[in-house]
């Protein structure tokens, strides 16, 4: 069977190479023509064909709110420890963003220096930022930069302008918020905790 038999869009290769890297394709991304790619996958006809095509090699396109990503079928989910550690760090970052006066939401544009400035002015934020475990972090500004770098590597943010260092929040950021929403908080601490107290 030839690739043409699937009648796939000609961007299939680009879509694969982005998503197989573990990146999200967001509707409001602009780099590498991402919004265009989003529209292509979002077209129901294309979606079905792409899904069928990628399923053969055990990749599954997952749809979120204005974003797409790949998951792998029949793959043992590995390295739980690392995953937990990573999401704990995301949680720290989201908490920092949530505590800011000017909250960062989908479509927001900001510069790391703006966040750093706010952290300098606000002691609570500053403490939060300082507690986020990162490797190189001499100044608050560098720390925020590193956070932005981390999030844009995971394709939650996009570096829109390298000169002014301005980032844009992509739709994929919803994924993190969805995860947060999925966490259920038990009303009462477990009995074990109570006995300890």
């Amino acid at each position: 069977m030839l690739a043409e038999d699937f009648n796939l869009p000609k961007q299939t290769h680009t879509i694969f190479s982005i998503m197989a890297r573990g990146h999200f394709i967001s509707s409001n991304g602009t780099r590498e023509g991402m919004n265009r790619l989003y529209d292509i996958i979002n077209n129901p006809e294309h979606f079905e064909r792409l899904q069928a095509y990628f399923n053969i090699i055990h990749y599954q396109i997952e749809r979120g709110n204005n974003y797409f990503y790949f998951s792998k079928m029949q793959e043992p989910q590995s390295e739980l420890e690392k995953k937990l550690e990573r999401f704990e760090r995301y949680l720290d970052i989201i908490d920092l963003f949530a505590s800011m006066d000017n909250k960062i939401t989908i479509g927001s544009r900001f510069r790391p220096s703006e966040i750093a400035e706010e952290c300098v002015a606000n002691v609570r934020l500053k403490q939060k930022l300082q507690k986020i475990p990162l490797y190189r972090s001499e100044t608050l500004h560098n720390k925020v930069r590193e956070i932005c770098d981390l999030l844009s590597r995971d394709s939650f943010l996009e570096l829109e302008d390298e000169k002014t260092e301005s980032y844009k929040v992509l739709d994929a950021y919803t994924y993190l918020l969805d995860i947060v929403n999925a966490i259920a908080i038990y009303e009462e601490p477990s009995t074990l905790e109570n006995t300890k107290l």
């Binding site: 995953k83 999401f87 989201i94 544009r109 995860i179 929403n181 905790e193």
Partner: protein, 416 residues
């Protein structure tokens, strides 16, 4: 605008400073005079001239275009703030003209009625387009969420205003239907029916916009709720109870993205065959340059392979050494080329080199390096036994390194 200017002056000045005007239009309320002068896009005299014409304003060092100019551009491009008030003005004017026409059936009032009906039609559509653009733009680009929600709410109000205008326009048309009929004016009928049609269409658009606005506001609200939740979870985390008081672990366990499961991009290796192509060679050269591998650098781009290239494999291998071999030959003085080749100890890797191979190498070198060698045009003979152990004799031309005078050489070997 200053009274003494005329339209030519304004157009002339706008055209002369078109780059500046475009820049100021794009960067409203952000550009300072010093910035412009430093960038060389404005001189002090030009600034004074423009200011005297009231084309630009200067407020605390921030330069902005005259509002009239800005709104003119915005009207043309159908961007900028939504101003439904304009439609109301047209409606009031329409009603006034209708009153006049009811009293005095004069054509000039009917003309007025037509004019304002048309204007209402155009203005309503334009306002709706602007509304749609602004709603999208606010959701996508407004960075402060509180301002964002506020703006969206404002647009909701504006939408309601536009809807009420549409309804009252409808009412005006309905109440004056008899009057329109009496006028017996075909053009008026056309205008009224077109207006009615677009009123219905615009109402549909507005319903869509309403859905969008509600959707956007909900989304923002949802994000804010998620943030509250995140703060709550973080608090629990700070207390060290994340794994006991929430189902954090199981949620994260179910995360199925490639990146978070550490599934790497499928890695591919370059095929060896691809390295033998011309593109592959270019690639090799790049790598050779990077790591200073002279062996790879020396290889040229492959020529077209001849049909029997497999049989010639050995010859080609010999070819690789030719230059080296000639160099060595030129540096010695004892032997002529033919004898040198006959006695030459080829590297073991090449295997046995037969007499035939040596002969063809001899011919090859003689032809390729004839400028570097001294040809004596004198025949010498070489005796050997062939495969059938028969005695044979080969004649060859003496070829010697240029300085060596007394040695022997050949141009083409001649089998006897």
């Amino acid at each position: 605008m200053a009274l003494q200017v005329n339209i030519h002056d304004i157009l002339g000045q706008l055209y002369q400073h078109r780059d500046l005007v475009a820049y100021l239009f794009a960067n409203r309320d952000r550009v300072s005079l010093n910035e412009l002068i430093a960038a060389g896009s404005l001189t002090q005299e030009q600034y004074l001239k423009l200011k005297s014409l009231d084309l630009i304003y200067d407020y605390e060092g921030v330069i902005s275009l005259n509002d009239a100019v800005v709104s003119m551009f915005e009207e043309f491009m159908e961007i900028g703030e939504v101003t439904p008030g304009l439609v109301r003005d047209y409606m009031n004017e329409l009603q006034r003209q209708l009153r006049f026409y009811t009293d005095i059936r004069e054509l000039r009032f009917l003309r007025g009625v037509k004019k304002y009906l048309k204007r209402i039609d155009v203005a309503l559509s334009r306002e709706i387009i602007k509304l749609q653009k602004n709603v999208d733009d606010t959701y996508k680009n407004e960075s402060n969420y509180r301002v964002k929600i506020q703006k969206l709410e404002d647009y909701r109000e504006k939408r309601d205003t536009i809807i009420s205008f549409i309804k009252s326009t409808h009412d005006i048309i309905d109440t004056n239907r008899n009057l329109f009929n009496l006028s017996n004016d075909n053009e008026l009928f056309g205008i009224v029916s077109a207006l009615k049609h677009s009123l219905i269409e615009n109402l549909d658009y507005l319903i869509e916009i309403q859905t969008d606005i509600t959707d956007y506001i909900n989304k923002i609200q949802l994000q804010l709720d998620s943030y509250l939740k995140a703060q709550q979870v973080k608090e629990i985390k700070d207390r060290g109870q994340l794994y006991y008081q929430t189902n954090f672990k199981s949620v994260i366990e179910s995360v199925n993205t490639l990146r978070h499961n550490n599934i790497k991009t499928p890695r591919t290796r370059i095929s060896v065959n691809a390295l033998f192509t011309d593109e592959g060679h270019v690639l090799c050269q790049k790598i050779a340059e990077k790591y200073k591998l002279s062996r790879l650098l020396a290889r040229g781009i492959a020529e077209k392979l001849s049909g029997n290239y497999k049989e010639k494999a050995l010859e080609q291998q010999l070819k690789l050494d030719t230059e080296r071999l000639v160099e060595r030959f030129l540096n010695q003085e004892k032997q002529n080329l033919f004898l040198y080749l006959m006695d030459y100890k080829f590297p073991k890797a090449i295997g046995d080199v037969h007499l035939e191979d040596r002969l063809s190498l001899f011919v090859e070198i003689a032809m390729e390096y004839q400028n570097k060698m001294d040809f004596k045009y004198r025949l010498e003979y070489y005796n050997y036994n062939d495969a059938q152990q028969q005695h044979r004799k080969i004649g060859y031309t003496l070829i010697v390194p240029p300085k060596l005078k007394s040695s022997k050489k050949s141009k083409t070997p001649q089998r006897t």
